[in-house]
Amino acid sequence: MADLKRLSDEELMFRFQKGDDSAYNEIVERYKNKLLNHIFYYMKDREWAEDIVQDTFVRVYLNKDKYKEIAKVSTWIYTIAINLAKTALSRNGKMNAFSITGKDGENDYEIKDKHTTTDGDVLKNELSDVIMSSIDELEEKFREIVMLRDVDEMSYEEIAALLKIPTGTVKSRLNRARLNLRDALSEYIR
């Protein structure tokens, strides 16, 4: 198992395609939290997001032979997850309600530790909420890229492959998104 941790995603996938289920387990381990954080932005419901992430891994398992090495494993897995999330949302008529904050402005993304809250934490959490709300107000094409870059820490190339847009477009959208965020948050970040 220790060996598996040193392997790249693509090497793990290759092993998994050859029948090594422990490689699959390692892929699940690497991506389950990342995917949950990303899909949560679509679903706004933790349980629902977990369901989508599980369904994603089921698809990965069943379709392992469809993965071709020309794409990165991360791109492939995120594509499956995002498609499942969008399909689930459109079935529930919530596609247009894609927003980071919860219902009625309640932000259920934030996991607060009630026992250790200090004045500093309150300010920190408030700023965090304001930032997330500001991201929520961005156009979807900007919001998605900010999340993929700053939350999921994907490279420009990975984002470009995932969204099927040129790398230059990824950069320019990210730039514009950040400038918009700066305008919206100017009074909070100084």
Partner: protein
């Protein structure tokens, strides 16, 4: 004071990335050393990015792996059941070919009965039939023929019957 938009323009035009390794860009570094506005812009953007990146992440619940295992097993079982139900391609082809052959044989058999023959209405009788030919004197003669043509020939070949027909009896 006039607003300096140099760095902002560079960001919008894409000539400066907002992941900002500005330290490697001498011209930008020189400018932000002198321009407080552009320096503030870069600082703000860096601050926002790090706030977003540092935002507390959620983790899957304790039951996640178990639930995934159950879903995976269910999906595998469903696939196995589908495989049993699914007839392999070669077998399907054999079924189709047998069906086509059966239809063709049936068609050929029905065809052989003359059902589709256009001459039927004129002189073809579908099976040998026995006719009773009667003369004017009510003398009868039985003839078996499978067509009107054969019937005529039978009459012609039957000397006794022919004589009676010719004599107008």
């Amino acid at each position: 004071m006039e607003k300096c938009g140099r760095i902002e323009e560079m960001i919008i035009s894409g000539s400066l990335e907002t992941d900002l390794a500005v330290e490697n860009d001498e011209a930008v570094m020189r400018h932000i050393t002198e321009c407080a506005e552009c320096r503030a812009l870069i600082d703000d953007i860096k601050k926002i990015s790090s706030k977003i990146a540092g935002h507390e992440k959620i983790k899957v619940s304790d039951g996640f792996d178990h639930a995934l295992k159950i879903k995976l097993e269910a999906a595998k079982n469903e696939i196995s059941a589908d495989e049993v139900k699914t007839v392999p391609f070669f077998t399907r082809m054999v079924y189709y070919a047998s069906g086509v052959a059966a239809v063709m044989i049936g068609f050929m058999y029905i065809s052989s009965l003359g059902v589709f023959d256009n001459k039927k209405s004129n002189d073809v009788i579908t099976a040998p039939v026995t006719f009773t030919v009667a003369s004017n004197n009510n003398e009868t003669k039985t003839v078996t023929a499978d067509s009107l043509e054969n019937l005529r020939e039978n009459v012609v070949n039957d000397e006794e019957l022919r004589l009676k027909v010719n004599a107008g009896e």
